[in-house]
């Protein structure tokens, strides 16, 4: 796993690598341990699966890895050859391409077998698919495609978008579906659901989410001890393994280490001049380049809307299913645009930001449509400037280094002028 933090003293970086390799190794060898595999969307309800001993696998996390390894074009091509439009989500295209070509950054070649790729690259085959559309409608279609491809059961948790905020109708609907989902998982895997175990996992999940929130909040310090490029990496466990003790332990250590850096005013950028907020998914294939470009100007991404989407959880012991329904029904991307504007303004204030960078992501329509209005409104409410760059999270084919560099340079000039006149 690639690291972008320029500070070698973060020892939890190695722990992260081991955690993620271990996770994928265990999943790849699940046939030995007879563990069932469920593919699940990134905002999906993972706690019931973990409590039932089922290994959750996240194609979106896999998509991010594919993007960071710059395998996007090759795998997308394979999906496009099948007839999938290039305008569709690049995570989806990469996932389909990987399933067809059996190519992936996850390519385990055991030494005892002479380093041969005997198991094929890519994610372990699912026994079950769990799709929660609280992040987009895309996943609904994506999982339908994969349900036909792998011929396995598909469980859908339909979480209606919060047009008018959280309504009783939505919470009752999602709660009813969670009850149904548990029965469906039991049927598909032969595992039994235990409420006691579920509450235990829910508490661990809550604890991890709270820790993650605290980790992100450390960047309120000036200078910030890490940038969002680091946070995008540190995000993997909270997405994939929340609900387990090892994730709690990992974030505890990370928090201590980052806090220590913050206390000593150590920053990954030599001189922190501009503090910026990032909106939307990372551009996975340009992480290093963008982090360097910004660092050269003393610009630091101190917070973002994406990693903060996993910083909100509250599964209660009294009403575990209903509280879980509330958590998943009101996930960040499922909230309306006005709420997103308020959230962004809040981040700008909390993190003392000088401006914000908006990634208009061709692959993520629900996250990106509305950004033009959000940009104007957040600027109006905070008085801070914004830059919008059009790109894609995984597909570099429409990306121009020069163009983006020029635009960032111009934006930095604006920030400089503002600081000078302030």
């Amino acid at each position: 796993m690639e690291q972008f933090n320029q500070l070698s003293e973060i020892s939890s970086n190695e722990r992260l690598r081991k955690l993620m390799v271990g996770y994928y190794m265990k999943a790849k060898f699940s046939w030995l341990t007879r563990k069932k595999i469920a593919w699940i969307t990134s905002g999906g309800p993972v706690e019931p699966l973990i409590s039932m001993g089922i290994t959750p696998i996240y194609p979106e996390n896999h998509g991010a890895m594919i993007g960071a390894r710059k395998m996007g074009p090759e795998l997308s091509d394979a999906a496009e050859d099948l007839g999938y439009s290039r305008d569709l989500c690049s995570y989806f295209r990469c996932d389909v391409g990987s399933a067809v070509l059996k190519k992936s950054p996850i390519d385990i070649r055991p030494k005892f077998l002479g380093g041969r790729a005997v198991f094929g690259g890519g994610l372990p085959k699912p026994d079950l698919l769990v799709c929660c559309n609280n992040i987009c409608g895309t996943v609904l279609k994506w999982y339908e495609v994969q349900a036909r491809f792998f011929n396995v059961p598909l469980i859908i948790v339909d979480t209606p978008y919060n047009y008018d905020g959280e309504t009783t109708e939505i919470i009752e609907y999602v709660t009813a579906q969670f009850g149904e989902m548990i029965t469906q998982i039991e049927k598909a895997t032969g595992k039994r659901f235990s409420e006691k175990e579920f509450i235990r996992v829910g508490e661990l999940s809550d604890e991890a989410v709270n820790l993650w929130n605290e980790v992100l909040s450390i960047c309120e310090n000036v200078p910030a001890p890490m940038t969002c490029f680091d946070a995008f990496m540190y995000l993997a466990p909270i997405v994939t393994l929340r609900g387990t003790q090892e994730v709690v332990d990992y974030y505890k250590q990370l928090k201590v280490e980052l806090q220590s850096l913050a206390d000593r005013k150590i920053s990954p950028v030599p001189e922190e001049k501009f503090r910026l907020i990032w909106d939307n998914l990372p551009i996975w294939f340009k992480m290093r380049r963008l982090s360097k470009t910004l660092a050269n100007y003393g610009a630091v991404l101190v917070a973002d809307t994406y990693t903060n989407a996993w910083a909100d959880n509250d599964i209660s012991v009294e009403k575990p299913i209903e509280s879980m329904a509330r958590v998943y029904a009101t996930a960040y991307l499922n909230r309306n645009t006005e709420t997103k504007i308020k959230n962004m303004v809040n981040l700008m204030n909390r993190f003392k930001a000088d401006g914000f960078l908006i990634h208009s992501n061709r692959s993520c329509k629900p996250y990106s449509f509305g950004q033009l209005d959000i940009k104007d409104e957040v600027s109006r409410r905070t008085g801070k400037p914004a830059l919008m760059i059009e790109a894609d999270m995984c597909d570099p084919r429409a990306y121009s280094d020069e163009q983006i560099a020029t635009r960032i340079q111009a934006f930095i000039e604006t920030l400089k002028e503002r600081k000078a006149t302030a």
Partner: protein, 372 residues
């Protein structure tokens, strides 16, 4: 009224409903625009409001550029263009229904830019299977209805709902009959009349629409069917306002025999079996569904294959709006399933309202030759 009057009427309303809206306004009748066919129109109609379908017709995009990126579908971009330009300024309100991500964001952006407008959304479920989605859909329909009742200031009466459901069901029967007669009289009922008639009924008080349709259809009562061996093409896609595809099919000696479009069969299929809120909700859950909705992983395939067989379809054209994700996701598997039945297919991606180049002509001609 003769056939020419009908043809003239449907052509004018389907191409530009603004005059129709204005005439209702002159009669002091409230008019709501609606952006999606999951809006339960019967309920709106029963409240004394005329629902008019919103289909983006703007030829060029300028004002909407400030709200939607270039990778947004042209249906939404051109509608936003028209709203910003005040084309539909005389509407009393605008109704949305939850379908795809783009429409979802469109709702928010519209609401933000028109803070004084009456805007309501029915948050229809994405799942259509079983009782859990039904219970939610019913609760949500009632919540939606309440917000419309606030506008009218009076509750929905069961008698007027009954009357509305009767008019809507009749309209569905008449459109079904039109589709059937078109197969027998492809010259007197050119293919484009299917599209224009459906859009017309989406924009006109249903009783009026029914009157027009009834008179037109009755003129075929005693008529001997035309001797036609035209190849039958079916269109599959989201919304469409492009008449050219229909005309080209006719011109090359084939016909558009049926469709699975939101501006076609999907709109009028499935009757409301009970004139109650429950009955209306059931209808919207059980009608042939949009690609953005889920019944099961093979439901759209089954429906299309059934239609192909029933109508003896010779070829299928996937007529997609560029950037329409839900349909693009379904395409490869549907194409495979249809081609396995030895029915050729063709994909045509287009932008709403943009005049098509010679490419469309060439594609259509080649496709008709292939199925002939």
């Amino acid at each position: 009224m003769d056939r020419a009057d009908f043809i003239k009427f449907v052509e004018s309303v389907s191409r530009n409903p603004v005059e129709q809206i204005n005439s209702y306004k002159r009669q002091e009748r409230p008019v709501f625009g609606y952006t999606c066919s999951y809006v339960p129109e019967e309920l709106i109609d029963a409240m004394g409001i005329i629902p008019v379908r919103m289909l983006g017709r703007a030829q060029t995009i300028q004002s909407a550029e400030r709200h939607f990126q270039s990778y947004c579908c042209s249906q939404v971009r051109s509608l936003m263009e028209e709203f910003v330009d005040g084309v539909y300024a005389s509407l009393d309100g605008l109704l949305f229904a939850h379908t795809c991500d783009t429409m979802q964001q469109f709702h928010d952006i519209y609401k933000k830019n028109f803070p004084k407008a009456f805007v309501k959304n029915i948050n229809f479920p994405s799942r259509l299977d079983g009782e859990i989605p039904y219970n939610y859909a019913l609760a949500e329909t009632k919540r939606f209805l309440k917000s419309v009742e606030e506008f009218t200031g009076r509750p929905l009466s069961s008698d007027s709902l009954k009357e509305s459901v009767t008019a809507y069901n009749k309209n569905r029967t008449l459109l079904e009959k039109l589709y059937g007669l078109h197969l027998k009289y492809p010259v007197d009922i050119p293919s484009r009349l299917l599209l224009q008639s459906v859009i017309m009924t989406q924009c006109v008080d249903k009783r009026e629409a029914n009157k027009w349709l009834e008179q037109f259809l009755s003129s075929f009562d005693e008529k001997t069917p035309e001797d036609s061996k035209r190849k039958r093409i079916m269109l599959v896609g989201s919304v469409n306002i492009n008449e050219e595809v229909y005309d080209l099919a006719d011109e090359f000696g084939a016909m558009i025999a049926d469709d699975d479009l939101c501006t076609g069969r999907r709109y009028f299929s499935t009757q409301v079996s009970e004139p109650t809120i429950e009955g209306v909700t059931r209808r919207y859950l059980s009608r042939p569904h949009c690609a953005a909705k889920h019944r099961d992983v093979h439901s759209r395939e089954r429906w299309l294959l059934e239609l192909i067989e029933k109508r003896s379809i010779d070829g299928v054209i996937f007529l997609y709006l560029k950037f329409c994700d839900p349909h693009c996701f379904d395409y490869p598997d549907l194409r495979k399933a249809i081609e396995e039945k030895k029915v050729p297919t063709q994909l045509i991606e287009m932008e709403q309202s943009v005049a098509q180049s010679g490419q469309l002509r060439t594609k259509l001609q080649a496709f008709v030759e292939m199925i002939s």
